[in-house]
């Protein structure tokens, strides 16, 4: 592995040297890139390694739904070569920031090619995705270099959002064509909550970095292969942990509805009194409905989240006799000394917390 990377790198460096191209200048100095929030920033850092300098706009424990950009953010964005966004209207403020900053690099939508879940459609017809994703990732181990072509089983409406060209659409999957009619902005943006989708994120990131910085492309693909292997290993662990939870205990109550993809991928049901965004205020009817449901289904634990106000959930737990099962990380990583300082740690922490509270 090491010899191969060394070889490839030296070839790339030689090529860059021989042409005296700007790519060489870039490879000697880290390429400035910007990621909108901490989870995406972590993934980009894993792929780019020391060849890039990542600036993350919404830091650990921050809520990217309602973030207000600062002039420093505009400066970071304007000087960046690549801007990574989640897409699916997760960062509602990004368009204005890009306009204001005069950014002229490449904007990469990390969710490109992901089969997004419509807001009102969490429960049906998605159960097959998890298996499907898993199969495809299985192939990837054998052909690292070209793997980014594999994941784009998309033909649906939100593709129109993506500005940059589509090199990845070779794998259309007829099974998902029925989504084509959905409107824009009607999708759940929290796609990183499924490890299968995380591989798509990583592929989009890798392809973008390789294109922006061809000199180091081989390193990026090497990093990608190692990272994807870790993601897949973790996915197997998570699946095993969730499978150990008894069927009748797989309904989970959280404070904001960010776990649609997690639920789909691993066969759980998530309920939240606050709906999908952290911005709406709950009504007494919503809270009452949730309490009735917790009582009727004898749900034993509710889970609080880091980015939201948990007072309401604590009240619900009090009233129903359910315990607070632990803290889940949904939209942001923890600070570096917390239990979820990287994306993989976050997913492992969430699965472990769920399994520990519900598994007994």
């Amino acid at each position: 592995m090491t010899t191969r990377r060394t070889l490839l790198t030296s070839v790339a460096v030689l090529a860059a040297l021989s042409f005296g191209s700007p790519a060489f200048a870039q490879s000697s100095k880290p390429m400035p890139v910007v990621a909108t929030f901490s989870i995406l920033g972590d993934m980009v850092t894993r792929i780019g390694g020391s060849h890039i300098a990542v600036t993350t706009l919404v830091g650990p424990d921050g809520d990217a739904h309602v973030y207000q950009p600062t002039p420093a953010d505009a400066r970071s964005v304007s000087s960046a070569d690549v801007l990574f966004v989640n897409g699916l209207e997760f960062e509602g403020w990004i368009d204005r920031l890009v306009d204001a900053s005069g950014f002229d690099g490449v904007r990469v939508v990390a969710t490109k090619g992901i089969d997004a879940i419509p807001f009102d459609d969490h429960d049906d017809e998605h159960d097959d995705h998890a298996e499907h994703d898993k199969d495809e990732h299985g192939h990837d181990k054998h052909d690292d270099e070209h793997a980014h072509d594999k994941h784009a089983h998309d033909k649906h409406a939100h593709d129109k959002h993506d500005e940059d060209e589509h090199a990845h659409d070779k794998h259309d999957d007829e099974k998902h064509d029925d989504h084509a009619g959905h409107d824009h902005g009607a999708f759940d943006p929290h796609a990183w909550q499924s490890l299968g989708h995380a591989v798509s994120y990583v592929d989009n990131i890798t392809a973008a970095l390789a294109k922006a910085d061809p000199a180091n492309a081989s390193t990026y693909y090497e990093n990608r292969a190692a990272y994807v292997a870790e993601i897949e290993a973790l996915e197997a662990d998570v699946r095993a942990m969730i499978d150990a939870i008894p069927e009748n205990k797989r309904t989970i109550v959280t404070s904001h509805d960010a776990f649609g993809y997690f639920a789909d991928a691993y066969g759980l049901t998530f309920e939240a009194p606050q709906g999908l965004s952290t911005e709406s205020e709950p009504s007494a009817a919503d809270v009452a409905k949730m309490i009735v449901q917790i009582r009727e289904e004898s749900i034993s634990a509710v889970f609080v989240e880091t980015v939201t106000d948990n007072r309401l959930l604590e009240q619900i737990a009090n009233e129903t006799g359910a315990t607070i099962g632990g803290t889940l990380y949904s939209d942001a990583l923890s600070s570096s000394d917390g239990p979820a300082s990287t994306y993989l740690d976050m997913m492992r922490h969430n699965a472990t917390t769920l399994a520990a509270a519900l598994g007994s």
């Binding site: 919404v58 830091g59 650990p60 424990d61 921050g62 809520d63 739904h65 309602v66 973030y67 207000q68 600062t70 952290t278 911005e279 709406s280 205020e281 709950p282 009504s283 007494a284 009817a285 919503d286 809270v287 009452a288 309490i291 980015v307 939201t308 106000d309 948990n310 007072r311 309401l312 604590e314 009240q315 619900i316 009090n318 009233e319």
Partner: protein, 289 residues
Amino acid sequence: MIWELVVSPFADFGFMRRALLGCIAISIGATPVGVFLMLRRMSLTGDAMAHAILPGAAFGYLVSGLSLGAMTIGGLVAGMAVALLSGLVSRVTALREDASLAAFYLISLALGVLIVSTRGSNVDLMHVLFGTVLALDDAALILVCTIASVTIMVLAALFRALVMECADPQFLRSVSGLSAVTHFTFLTLVVMNLVGGFHALGTLMAVGIMILPAAGARFWASSIGGLIMAAVSIAMLSSLIGLLLSFHYSLPSGPAIILVAGVFYATSLTVGSVGGLLTRTLPRPQPDA
């Protein structure tokens, strides 16, 4: 029927009982303060003070997280600083109190926005600051009830001086040294009730429950005692009806309560027995209080 519509939501759900208790406590504490604010032509002061306490609460939140104590103390300090400074300026300089209050609350607000924005971590602060009445925990309930009790006792002790301040502040200032004490104690009450209210209803809603019932009561009574009784009754009814509407029609509860108070205000304005629109068109108009 009545049972199902009115009683069973409270009988079945503890959070509804808590919400109602919290609202009643705020009605008892904040509404009389609102009546005095109205009588002293300071109705908009409540709004300004609400903005003034917001940065303090935000600061408390950023320093020690979602802690009732830190946010309460932060709000009290910021509110009192603005109230005292603006009162001081108006008493020792030529600037009128409304202008100096506006100046200080705007400074306070800008400072708060600055503090919030320079902090890297950005949880939806407005969501934290705009508490919901459905999530009152024990500590918040105790705080709200304590504030209501203290308010009632202080108002009772200062009643004469306050009425005098309302009727003829110049006179009170000329015959007694209590004028300044009364004024600042009263401002303290305003700040305290707003801080208590924002734990329950959120900052702007707290001003609503303070001012709207008082304005509505103005059309039903002319004595101060009558005004307070009418205002507290309107506030309690608004809380009850607002919560029930939120329960039955799936509306957010804070705005529902304030909108019901708004409907009470509009109704009082129209049909109120003291200076309402209808009574004014009658042959024998009631004298204004």
